[in-house]
């Protein structure tokens, strides 16, 4: 279950070293850009750029494939289904009753799929190059209240633990003859009580213990606090941020101010 949320892999690339705040802003700006651009050719350029980043982050092909498997399937689905639900435009390539497959619709489908690909890949790069610790740190530095950040960090930290806990509870109940997949809806819901109750009880117990531990370390003792590791923007981060903003502002200006069709 840890693998699901923690995609971070340690490596020494410029993306890994980049200040996490810049990376978060990058992802937000690039996502917005994907929506601003409406022509397929520009979206493909964006996608190519994002894949270049992926390459520079030294993402292994097999791991990326696995993570993006679902996205790929979703993209194909979009391409296939779009023309079915969007019968406008000409020329019409095929028709079956009310369903009209038109060429422009196919291109619109491909455009949307590319957009989804851009979004998914750029968020994947963020998760791949940034540890959970740095992500939370960045959010707090950008203004998220410290206790929200701590709550987020603790939740992330305990996800694999609770995953293992639920597996253990399932095993324990199966050893008492509980068969989870069997039975009608009512019986199956009752069966899940046998999993849910111990899970909730354990979670509450852990929460209580955590509360005592936090207090014992003087959490909340003062309104100010210091940080051992602090995020410092370096020159390279500033440059990257500048380039990013330009990469976003220029097309946005072009489209909304100068009405250039992109």
């Amino acid at each position: 279950m840890a693998g699901f949320v923690d995609l971070y892999t340690e490596a020494d690339t410029f993306l890994h070293r980049m200040d996490p705040r810049v990376k978060i802003i990058a992802v937000l700006l690039l996502s917005l850009l994907a929506f601003i651009l409406s022509s397929l050719s520009y979206l493909l350029i964006l996608l190519a750029f994002i894949f270049l980043l992926l390459f520079l982050a030294r993402a292994s092909l097999s791991r990326t494939e696995f993570a993006l498997k679902f996205v790929l399937r979703f993209m194909i689905l979009i391409v296939v289904l779009w023309p079915i639900f969007d019968p406008t435009g000409s020329p019409v390539l095929a028709s079956l009753g009310p369903i009209k497959i038109t060429e422009p619709a196919i291109w619109r489908g491909v455009t949307s799929a590319t957009r989804v690909g851009c979004l998914a890949t750029v968020w994947y790069i963020l998760m791949f190059t940034t540890s959970q610790r740095d992500l939370v740190r960045a959010l707090v530095k950008m203004g998220l209240r410290f206790d929200f950040g701590l709550t987020l960090a603790i939740s992330l930290r305990f996800l694999p633990t609770f995953g293992a806990l639920i597996d253990s509870i399932k095993d324990a109940q199966r050893a008492r003859g509980l068969e989870l997949g069997k039975g009608g809806l009512v019986k199956r819901s009752r069966n899940y009580v046998a999993i849910l109750v111990p899970t909730i009880v354990s979670a509450l117990r852990t929460a209580d213990a955590l509360s005592l531990a936090l207090q014992s370390r003087a959490y909340g003792a003062r309104s100010d606090r210091t940080y051992l590791r602090d995020l410092k923007m370096r020159a390279s981060d500033g440059v990257a941020l500048g380039m990013l903003v330009a990469a976003f502002v220029l097309p946005a200006l072009a489209k909304y101010v100068f009405n250039v069709e992109i």
């Binding site: 253990s168 095993d171 199966r174 050893a175 008492r176 003859g177 111990p198 009880v201």
Partner: protein, 284 residues
């Protein structure tokens, strides 16, 4: 039942043959295990963390299936049976009772297992009564299990497994968190069950517990069985215990250090040691 008969003369209830088990991430938890357990035995499977003892235990009731090799329970390979079916023969009490308890009364909790196995009401009632009596829960039967103390919760968890009336009882670290009195009480009740013919398998790293109760000790380390003998045999070989990240009881350590003075190595109680010290000294 003949409690002290060597295992080879008993009919086998559980048999692992050339068992190998590898977890999904690639960890080889069990490398090559051959183990026969006879009806009515009282056996302790010991080892430190990572020795494979818990993995082995879970292979015995089907929670895990062999990667290669086989586990035969009651004459049939586990690969052919569902966990629920194996639960009739091999009961497994987990180390943390809170992973099992969820009902509003001890009675309901104990009833859960046999009900799942589909026994008729009358039989379920009988089994529940016997289990409650075996674990001394009569005075607690109407109370919610989660409100009880750890020692009591552990007894409820074990009772809920006994109620399924399995021939074999696997107990994972049953005395963790219990003080001397609670621990002694629990072990007394387990002995009674063994006297009545149940096969008891203790999974533990507490060598003092093993010294006092088990009749056969299987020492595991890094996925293999290093030693399979009666307790005396196990305690004579302190090197093997150390290799398995186990701490021999203090008196056994002391006895080993006094080997040169004609003190036997397989001493497991203070009384024994003092007896031999007196003897070695030349009598009082």
């Amino acid at each position: 039942m003949i409690p002290n008969a060597p295992s080879s003369s008993r009919e086998k209830i559980v048999s692992a043959q050339r068992l190998k088990f590898t977890y999904e991430g690639g960890v080889e938890a069990i490398r090559d295990v051959n183990l026969d357990i006879g009806y009515g035995e009282y056996i302790a499977i010991v080892g430190g963390n990572g020795s494979g003892k818990t993995t082995l235990a879970k292979n015995l009731n089907g929670l895990l299936r062999p990667t290669s090799g086989s586990v035969v329970v009651g004459g049939r390979p586990t690969s052919e049976l569902k966990v629920a079916a194996l639960a009739r023969i091999v009961g497994y009490a987990f180390q943390n009772p809170d992973h099992q308890l969820f009902c509003s009364s001890v009675e309901d909790e104990v009833r859960f297992g046999p009900t799942n196995l589909g026994y008729p009401d009358e039989e379920v009632r009988n089994k529940v009564e016997k289990a409650i009596e075996a674990m001394n829960l009569e005075h607690l039967r109407k109370l919610p299990p989660l409100s009880l103390r750890l020692g009591e919760r552990r007894r409820v968890s074990i009772a809920s497994v006994i109620a399924m009336d399995p021939q074999v009882l696997v107990l994972d670290e049953p005395t963790t968190g219990l003080d001397a009195e609670e621990s002694a009480e629990l072990m007394r009740r387990l002995k009674r069950l063994n006297d009545e013919g149940k096969t008891i398998i203790l999974i533990t790293h507490d060598m003092k517990l093993v010294a006092e109760h088990a009749k056969r000790v299987v020492v595991m380390a890094r996925g293999r069985i290093l030693l399979d003998s009666d307790p005396r045999g196990a305690f004579s070989d302190i090197e093997i215990l150390r290799q398995s990240n186990l701490e021999p009881p203090a008196v056994t350590q002391l006895a080993h250090r006094l080997e040169a003075y004609d003190i036997p190595r397989d001493i497991i109680s203070p009384e024994e040691l003092v007896f031999h010290l007196m003897r070695a000294r030349g009598g009082t």
